[in-house]
Amino acid sequence: MFKQFLDKIPGADVYMIGSLLTFVVFFALVGAYLLIVDKKYIQEMSELPLKD
């Protein structure tokens, strides 16, 4: 499937794969951040709507 469009557009493969990688990297960074983030802080954030 990917081969189809990579073949048809010269030079486009670099930024298409680049954009997918951007997503993967960004997703991994957010994921990693969520793994190490302080639980107290997360709890505080999740209670924000209940505090007004």
Binding site: Y15, Y33, V37, P49, D52
Partner: protein, 710 residues
């Protein structure tokens, strides 16, 4: 420092919330009423009410615009203005901007309600409004943005709760979508031509169309879900971490999915494939959000049994889950081959619209109104009644539409053992699903009754209480120079604290997908192979095309023969990208209530079209198409022919200066030729009538490519 001494007193603006709430109720009922009317037109043509301003083609966009931008739009602003103030612990930035936003938005709605029945339309689905209104939308959206960011900047809560992220992403993405999809060249105050043509126009439109669903009907509602559901259930969201992941993954992936609306069309294969891949990936964040919502109610299901507001939320979130499961399913090419252009899509969007948007809006209205009016709801029995009649309404709407969709999809493709189409006459397939359309209209009526009961209940509640226009609140101000320490030094925490950074990162995230999809289609010539035989429309055909747009024919007829044997057998040669290079705008359509028209040219004599437009049943007994007698009565406006040709020339259509200057001479000549052929068959009609131009256009459709074959 003694913090007690610095506490600040301020008030929340509830009047603006009330105004948007009232507008939500009123426009909701109006939009649904128009929905029921157009639903009935599909089985009883008499419901077109015999005049041009209420025919299906003109008021179907009125229904979609009313429910999307008037009902849902006002509901979004109601929810945002209520929750943003409280999450930021600040009054809205400017009361004047709030008022300007409210009245400006209502003005846009009124202008839409006037111009659409008059036939002033760009024909881009969900972006039908003409260019002056587009500019007004842009201005009012900027007012909303300034007001929102002003509030966020003067907030008294350092961190931005995830609901606000969704609001920011909504603001920035809708701004980008609206601007890019509104590049039009004005011809007059009420008419414009799209800058892009054919395939490129289609890609921009469905990049816009799909993401209008994503960033107008989904992200703001997810933001509201993350705020109001914890309030209603009195417990925090199930997983805040999941909401963070949900946010980024959703806004990144959604923007790529548009081309799934154009599978098997003349759009380049790579763009179709890209749309499919990302549409399938979308199920992960969508279901992450749905589960986060439903799991918030864990241990509180006893409350759901008692509380009708929570019932609305549960059904709404479940409908979101169903629609977002079905979306990726529909983007598989083999499923899409059957579902596209059928009622299946209508069922799909209404599960989302009636279930997700409708029910969440109702729940939030029921929750907010008694609070800002400091009273109890007028009648709890009525809410329960509304919930049950609304749910039944959705079922009576969706189930027959699914059956109808499957029926259409299968009948269109069924062959006899001899290899000919079993239902060669398209009309048979339309008539087959009429009972389903009757039940659908019944379902819509049930849903409308529920909304009217809600309106009554809420207005009674308002009358019973008194509006707390300025709700007193207090909070500590933020320290002016904040130095992040400990966990607050993380990079993501930096984004969470800064609204402008959040806006910029969101913008980058949505632009990545947009650029990868759009740029190659615009830059690479090989994506739209040119066909030498395809020539620009004659002046008369161009005027006829504008009538086709004015009457909204695109709402029932596609102009895209897909490369299936079942379609080439029925309609002729499949559509090529190069055939649409002069189509500003493209008119591929998204629904076939009637047959495809791309190969309509030269299929029937002129007289057939004349009689068919005057009274469709005279040529197709049993047809549900409305009659268009006014096309014979009205004189074609030709004073703008030169301006139109000039505009098309500016857009790159290769008219010569001679052709532009002498447009009306050529037009008259062709009109007289058509009138002469009609006269031979005993039809007396003047050559200056609109019907002549429309016949000229219909007879031209898809014929150029046949010239190549000769």
């Amino acid at each position: 420092m003694n913090q007690e001494s610095t506490i600040e007193q301020f008030s929340y603006d509830n009047r603006i919330v009330k105004n948007f709430a009232v507008a939500t109720i009123v426009w909701g009922i109006v939009g649904m009423l128009v929905g029921v009317l157009i639903a009935s037109q599909l089985f009883a043509p008499v419901m077109n009410l015999g005049n041009q301003y209420t025919t299906y083609g003109r008021i179907r966009p009125l229904h979609t615009n009313a429910v999307i931008f008037a009902f849902v739009g006002n509901a979004i602003f109601m929810g945002v203005y209520y929750s943003l103030q409280r999450l930021c612990k600040a009054r809205m930035y400017s009361d004047l901007l709030s008022k300007l936003h409210f009245w400006g938005w209502q003005l846009i709605i009124v202008l839409a309600a006037i111009t659409l029945p008059l036939g002033m339309t760009t024909s881009h689905e969900y972006a039908e409004l003409e260019w002056p209104i587009d500019i007004l939308i842009t201005l009012i959206w900027v007012v909303f943005g300034i007001n929102m960011f002003g509030t966020i900047i003067k907030r008294r809560e350092r961190h931005l709760y995830v609901a606000i992220w969704f609001y920011i992403a909504t603001f920035v993405t809708i701004a980008v979508l609206h601007i890019v999809n509104s590049f039009e060249l004005p011809v007059s105050l009420t008419k414009s031509y799209m800058l892009y043509a054919g395939v490129q126009d289609a890609l921009v439109q469905w990049w816009y169309g799909h993401n209008a669903v994503a960033f107008f009907l989904t992200t703001p509602y997810l933001g509201m879900m993350y705020y109001f559901l914890p309030k209603m259930a009195n417990r925090p969201i199930y997983s805040y971490k999941l909401s963070v992941l949900h946010f980024w993954a959703l806004i990144f992936l959604y923007i790529w999915a548009g081309p799934h609306h154009l599978l098997y069309t003349s759009l380049p294969d790579w763009a179709q494939s890209l749309g499919v891949v990302f549409s399938i990936m979308l199920i992960a964040p969508s279901w992450g959000g749905m589960l986060n919502g439903l799991l918030t109610l864990r241990g509180a299901w006893d409350k759901v049994r008692e509380d009708a507001i929570l019932k609305f939320m549960v059904v709404g979130i479940t409908a979101y889950g169903m629609a977002t499961f079905e979306g990726p399913l529909l983007s598989f090419k083999n499923v899409n081959a059957i579902a596209h252009f059928t009622d299946w899509i209508v069922a799909h969007v209404h599960v989302g619209a009636l279930g997700w948007n409708g029910f969440l809006s109702f729940a939030i209205l029921y929750w907010i109104i008694p609070r800002i009016f400091r009273t109890e709801l007028y009648s709890k029995k009525m809410i329960n009644f509304h919930f049950w009649i609304g749910t039944l309404g959705i079922l009576f709407y969706a189930v027959p539409m699914y059956i109808s969709g499957f029926t259409q999809g299968l009948m269109w493709k069924e062959f006899n053992p001899e290899g000919t189409l079993k239902y060669g006459n398209f009309l048979e397939t339309t008539l087959q699903v009429i009972p389903m359309h009757i039940i659908r209209a019944f379902g819509g009526t049930l849903y409308l009754i529920g909304a009217i009961v809600m309106g009554y209940n809420l207005f009674k509640t308002m009358a019973k209480g008194s509006l707390l226009a300025d709700e007193e609140a207090q909070a500590f101000p933020l320290e002016k120079a904040y130095i992040a320490t400990g966990g607050d030094t993380y990079w993501h925490r930096w984004i969470e604290r800064k609204p402008i950074q959040l806006l910029l990162v969101s913008l980058v995230v949505i632009l990545i997908g947009s650029m990868v999809e759009l740029i190659p289609t615009f830059m690479v010539d090989s994506n739209v192979p040119t066909i030498a035989a395809v020539k620009p429309y004659t002046p008369l055909e161009l005027q006829g095309r504008d009538l086709y747009i004015r009457e909204g024919c695109v709402n029932c007829h596609s102009q895209m023969v897909r490369p299936f044997r079942s379609e080439t057998e029925r309609y002729g040669e499949y559509s090529k990208a190069g055939e649409f290079v002069y189509d500003h705008p493209f008119l591929w359509g998204s629904k076939r209530t009637g047959p495809d028209l791309h190969r309509e040219g030269a299929k029937y004599p002129n007289s057939w079209h004349y009689y068919h437009m005057k009274e469709p049943t005279s040529m197709s007994p049993g047809s549900v198409m409305p009659a268009y007698p006014w096309l014979e009565e009205q004189v074609l406006t030709t004073s703008d022919t030169k301006t139109k040709l000039k505009a098309m020339k500016t857009l790159g259509v290769p008219y010569t200066d001679y052709e532009v200057q002498n447009g009306n001479l050529t037009l008259d000549k062709q009109a007289q030729d058509i009138t002469a052929t009609l006269a031979k068959e005993g039809i007396k009609v003047k050559s200056d009538r609109e019907i002549i131009a429309l016949i000229a256009y219909l007879q031209r459709l898809g014929t150029d490519i046949k010239k190549t074959a000769e």
